[in-house]
Structure formats: structure tokens, C-alpha cells
């Protein structure tokens, strides 16, 4: 009996020695700044030294790239996962730990797919603070989003800045209708999710042109108490527009603290016209043309309640009943011809069919 116990203990000691050896190996392989985290055991936010972290990543990348020029700089925003939600909408999970730590629903990032690409704002579709990732959902509309879409898992986005803009104010809401249209659902989803987490009753109304374009259905189901799926042609869910579904819910006696509408400008405009009739506060998320996104260029200005506001710092969320939608729609078409042209050029370049 005693010998048996003695052998058991010896085995365990041997196993522990093996574990210790493994830990030491991991420690030796790790970077300098990772070692600091390992040693101090402190919280990430207290000890992270970006400069050092970036430099370690850079050095590792230089080793990994093995003389492949340009690779060594691609150390920041690696695409961890990429998938297509429908033929023109893609989803990417991007490694950006500092942004992931701070991101809130309603905020956005600006990316440049490659050096010399355009700066394009995209609302954050999801974030994972633990994994240090940001999820973006994009519709392929022009050269910039095409370039983004040409990047694959493991590759890096050249620039990725955020979190920009002010977060949606969701605290204290008890019952909310979240209205999403098309790719706008990608922005509506994190809002619905956060509201659900905060314990609010969420009614989600999502609209798409047809069945093939439907995205995030399961995700919405998981975070809403009621989901109305609408398609323009009736090929999925109910046939009709989101405003019809919203009006029906209101007429059924649902009293909403707030309606949050995110989608094409024309959809948001009609949702606001409807809710104004019923006097329900409505928040919309504006997505105007933008360059720097930090309050410098003034390109993203819009008129809200007769005042000039800047979507990048004052928004992107605004009181829908005060937004001048017609003006915003006009301004959004400023570069339509250029975009069209650039998209065709990019399609030729990539030998793809213009969609």
C-alpha cells in the first residue's frame, strides 16, 4: 500500500517537472512584452505597452515573412475569419485588441484595405473583448470594399482605426423596436444584442430585397423577443416593407420606449415619418461620406434640427425626427459616377463580373 502511494507521488512529481519544462519553453518562445504580462499577472490594460507590443509583433513578422517585402508591416489587423453572408455582403473578424477593448454598439471604424486605398467608415458589427477581435460586415459597393473583399484569412488590413463616434445610448430602455434594412442589419444587430443583454424587450424588424440577401437571421433570433422577417418580393418571411410591420406592431398595442432604425436613408426616413405620427422617439444611424472620421474634414456634415452636425464626432446616432433626410440623400450621391467607374475598373482588374 505504502509503495503504491509512493509510486503515485513520484509519477505526479515527474509529471509536474514535465509541465514546468513546457512552461519554460513557452516562456522562452514568447515575446518580451508577453513575458511582462506573464510575470506581473496584472490586468491587460495596466501593463500593455503598445509600442513594445507592436515592435515585438513587427520583429516576429520580419522573421515569419522571410524576406517577402511588405509582410513585416502587416502586423496589426490580421483577418482571423472571413465569410460571405450573401453574394455581395462579406463578414470579417479582425484582430484589433485595443479597439475590441473599447468598442460599443453604434461606434464605427475606418479602414484602408491596402496602402493607397480610400479610407472607408464601417460600423462595428460585433466585438469580442477576450479574443481581441472586431467583426465588420461590408457590402461590396465600390473599389474600396472590393479591395477589402480581395483580402483573405491570414492577410492583414493595412489600416484599421477606431472605435470612432459616440456609442448608442441604450441604458434605461425597457422595450425597443429595432428596425434593420439590408446590410444595415449588420449595425442593428449589435444594438439589439446589447439591449437584450441589458434586459430590454427587443422586437426586431428586418427587411431585405429577397431571400438570397437575408443575413444574420439566427443572430437576431437569439437576441430578440420577437422577429419580423420582411422581404420586398415575399420570397422569405412576410412580403412587404419594414414600416408596415412596425405599424402593425404599434397598432397591436406594443408601447415602445424607442425605435432604433438602421438601414438605407429612404427606409429610415419612412420609419421616422411613421413614428412621428405615433410620437415615438426614434434614433437613426447615419452613414455619410467621410474621410478622417476624427472631426477634421467636415465632409460628414448633416443638418439635424436646423443645425450643422458632424456624424463622426456628434453621431453617427441622431434623433431621427430632426434629421434632414432629403439633404443627406442628396449629399450621399456626390461621387456616384466616380464610384461606378472605379467599381467597373476594379472588376476588370480582378477579372470579375460587375454585379
Amino acid at each position: 500500500m505504502y509503495m503504491k502511494l509512493f509510486n503515485k507521488v513520484t509519477d505526479m512529481i515527474e509529471e509536474l517537472i514535465e509541465v514546468q519544462r513546457l512552461v519554460e519553453d513557452i516562456y522562452l518562445e514568447s515575446s518580451e512584452s508577453e513575458q511582462i504580462w506573464l510575470e506581473s499577472g496584472q490586468e491587460f490594460s495596466k501593463t500593455i505597452d503598445i509600442a513594445k507590443w507592436a515592435k515585438d509583433r513587427y520583429n516576429r513578422n520580419v522573421e515569419d515573412s522571410q524576406g517577402d517585402p511588405g509582410k513585416e508591416f502587416a502586423f496589426m489587423y490580421q483577418i482571423v475569419k472571413k465569410e460571405h453572408l450573401n453574394p455581395t455582403v462579406g463578414k470579417m473578424v479582425v484582430e484589433a485588441p485595443l479597439i475590441a477593448k473599447k468598442a460599443e454598439p453604434g461606434q464605427f471604424i475606418i479602414f484602408r484595405a491596402k496602402e493607397d486605398s480610400e479610407r472607408i467608415p464601417l460600423t462595428i458589427a460585433d466585438y469580442d473583448r477576450e479574443a481581441g477581435t472586431i467583426t465588420i460586415i461590408y457590402q461590396i459597393v465600390g473599389a474600396g470594399t472590393m479591395e477589402l473583399d480581395s483580402l483573405n484569412e491570414g492577410e492583414c488590413i493595412h489600416d484599421f482605426v477606431g472605435p470612432l463616434g459616440t456609442a448608442s445610448h441604450l441604458d434605461g430602455l425597457k422595450k425597443v423596436a429595432v428596425v434593420g434594412g439590408g446590410v444595415g442589419c449588420a449595425i442593428a444587430y449589435p444594438v439589439a444584442k446589447k439591449l437584450h443583454e441589458l434586459g430590454a424587450e427587443v422586437h426586431a424588424i428586418v427587411g431585405f430585397r429577397n431571400k438570397d440577401l437575408v443575413i444574420l437571421e439566427d443572430e437576431f433570433k437569439a437576441v430578440s423577443d420577437k422577429l419580423c422577417m420582411m422581404t420586398d418580393d415575399g420570397s422569405y418571411g412576410e412580403k412587404g416593407v419594414v414600416t408596415a410591420a412596425l405599424e402593425k406592431l404599434i397598432n397591436d398595442g406594443n408601447q415602445y420606449d424607442e425605435v432604433i432604425a438602421i438601414g438605407p436613408l429612404i427606409m429610415m426616413k419612412f420609419v421616422c415619418q411613421l413614428t412621428k405620427k405615433y410620437n415615438i422617439k426614434t434614433v437613426v444611424s447615419m452613414n455619410p461620406i467621410m474621410i478622417d472620421g476624427t472631426g477634421m474634414c467636415g465632409g460628414c456634415r448633416l443638418t439635424v434640427g436646423g443645425e450643422t452636425k458632424f456624424a463622426c464626432v456628434d453621431g453617427p446616432d441622431f434623433d431621427g425626427h430632426l434629421v434632414d433626410f432629403d439633404e443627406a440623400m442628396h449629399r450621399g450621391t456626390m461621387y456616384r459616377d466616380f464610384e461606378q467607374h472605379a467599381r467597373e475598373a476594379e472588376c476588370n482588374l480582378l477579372k470579375k463580373e460587375v454585379k
Binding site: R119, D159, D292, T294, G295, H330, R331, T333, F338
Partner: protein
Amino acid sequence: MAFQRNMDLKKCPMPSQDPNVRNHNFDEVALGYTYDMAVSEARRCLNCKNKPCVSACPVAIDIPAFIERVTNEDMEGAFEIISRSSSLPAVCGRVCPQENQCEGKCVRGIKGEPVGIGRLERFVADWHREHSKEAPKMPVQNGHKVAIIGAGPSGLTAAGDLAKMGYKVTVFEALHLAGGVLVYGIPEFRLPKAIVQQEIDNLKAIGVDIETNMVIGKILTIDELFEMGYEAIFVGSGAGLPRFMGIPGESLKGVYSANEYLTRINLMKAYRPDSHTPIKHSKNVAVVGGGNVAMDAARCAKRMGAENVYIVYRRGMEELPARKEEVEHAMEEGIIFKTLTNPVEVLGDADGMVRGMKCVEMELGEPDASGRRRPIVKEGSEFELECDTMIMSIGTSPNPLIRSTTPGLDANKHGCIITEEETGLTSRKGVYAGGDAVTGAATVILAIGAGKQAAKAIDEYIKSK
């Protein structure tokens, strides 16, 4: 005296591209003095005792001393003297408003033209860049960390000075490229971006880390930077949101802020045919405002192919706040000055595009608080100016991101961060600020001066801790 003093009443003229060639390209306008021109111009300096030029320089460069080195053809020595006071001489030689500073006080200017101090500064800096083989030396580290917010002129200056003192400096820049207004604002033809890049590379060589795509106030706050071990922070976040006039029609398509127009062209390279960032190619462009930014925007518009470019300014030619040289260059390039004119409405067509603007003529009345004569509307003077693009260049208000996310950081009613004049210290311990974030839109050299002062104050603060 070892040399013959040059008593020519006029400055040695600056070789520059022909106006009708350069207004179609983005290459640098002024080509710079040759070696002989620089030596000859330097010999115009009287090396006078009371040196009024030095007192008129925001960073007090020992001007007669560096010019004397040039006369002795000791260019490296001249550079050494300038770089004691200014961290970005190649930039300042090109963009400083010398006529209101050093050259404005030059004794030679009393009778004839002042010494071309700016041109000489530029020559010395360029000569050093082209001839110096010496790699910048890595300073001995003192183990203290300082964070700089914004990689514009004030931030880069503070970073350079602190790094030379041995501090570990990290510069956080919101855009994807360091340089601030030097890269997004001032156009290539006035300040080649390769020069800015060289200055930034020099900073990196002495150990300054530049982290782009970092919007402080959003991704990290000032307080988090302190938690990360930075002992002092310099805020040089620059000018922010553009101002508009608040007249009808400013949201029409074709109305740009100068910031947007210049950022598209300079930072995003929209002037190149292969750029992915669009810009409107217009026929008639009206730029509202009379400062350097307005001149830059107007001259860019001309280079983008516009037939008629107007500067619309509510005061007279005398009152234009832009550098004299920029106004002269703009006129040479065919920019039309509509002074004593003020827009009252932007007119649009059925598609919501700008088609013109309604203006009134102005006349000058009594001087106002700023000492400039107040413009008054002339009765019944309304007229329409045809244009398809309008660029608003009437100033900016400081960027709100830092002050709105930093508790205890005081700002005035315009949103400018309040600082102690001598040190740049803000209402928060260990937080310093300078440049446009403090002054509102001003000049590169004032920002450099503020960066230098703050670097000195930060050094004293950390040493006294």
C-alpha cells in the same frame, strides 16, 4: 572683412517654376537657391549688433550667426546653429510667414528688401539633407516615458527634443500617416512630402516610436496613458472641425471645407489619376477666405484643372492674412481675387449641385477689436458669381476628442485647451498642450515654438518629481 558685402537693395530672386507650367502640376513651385546664390544672399546680412530678426523669430534662431556661417561657406555649421532652435528647418524655411517675423524686422528692409532669411534657412536645411552622411545618433536613455498626442509640427518638435534629452517617446497619430497638417494640409507644391518624411525618419532613428491609427480619446484615454507608465503627456491634436458661414445652401453638393478638399488632395493623393479617393474636377471654383489655407485650396483647384478660380474675401488685398509670397504666387498662377466680397447664399441646381453663389460687395469701416477695419455691406450691391465648387476656408475650431474624454482638462469657450503661456501646462498635472489645439488655427512655427517650450517644461517636471 574676408568678403565683399553684397549691398544690392533687392533679395536674390528665388528660382521657381514658370507660373503657367506649374499651375498644371503638383511639383514644388520654388526651386531653392543654388550654392552661389545662397552665399551671395548671405553677404547681404549686416550682422548687426541688436539682431532684431532674432527677437521676431518665435523660436529665436540665432539668425546672423547662421548666415555668417553661410557667407563662410560652412553649411554644416550653419545647420548646426539653426537646429539648436528649430527642429524642422526645411519645413519652416518653406512655410513660415517670414515677412511678419524675422524678415519683417530686418534692418536691410528699411531701405530696400530684407535679407532672404527664409530662403537661406531652406537652403541650409536642404544642403544638410543632401550632403550630410552622418547618421543621427541614438541618445542615451534616461528611463522615463513620455507620450505625445498628434504627429504634427508641435508634437514632432516636442518628440524630437525630448528624445534627444534621453526620454523614451511614443507619438500617437490618429491618421494613417504622421505629419499632421504638413501632410494633410499643406500641398506638395509648397512642401514636398519627401521632406516631411525625412524629418519623421530622423525622429525614428533617434528612437521615437510613432504609432499611427491611434485616436487618443477613443482607443485610449489620457488617464490610461498615465496608467501605462507615461509620466507626462503632450497634447498637440491640432485644429479640428471646419467652420461654415451658416448661410443657406452650404450642404449642397460641391461645397467643401478647405480641410476636406486639401485632405482629399494631399493625404489621399486625389490629384493622381490612379487615386481611389474621388474629388470633383470643377470648371469654376470659389474659395471663401483669405488665409494660407485658402491660397493652398485655390492653387490646388487650379492644378486640378479649373478654368477660373476665385478667392472671395470680405476685406481688402491689404488685409489678406496669407503669407505675401503665397498671394503673389497665387496671382501669378492666375487666381482671381474678389476682395471686399462676401457670400450670402450658395445657389444650387435641380440636382442639388452648386451652380453659383450670391455675393454682396463690402467696404471697410472703422477698425474693430482685432485692429483690422471692419467690413460693412454695401447697400444694393448683390450679384451672382458662377461656380460649380465652393471651398469654405474660414477657420476651424479645435478637435473635441481629447478634451471631451479627459476629466479636469479645461478649455475656453472656443474649445481651445487652456495652458500656462510659458510652459504649456494644462489644468491637469503632467499634461501639456500646444499648437492649434491651444491657439486655434495658427502657424507651423508657432506650433513648433509651443512644442519646444513644452518639451523643456516636461523635462523640468519629470526631473523634479
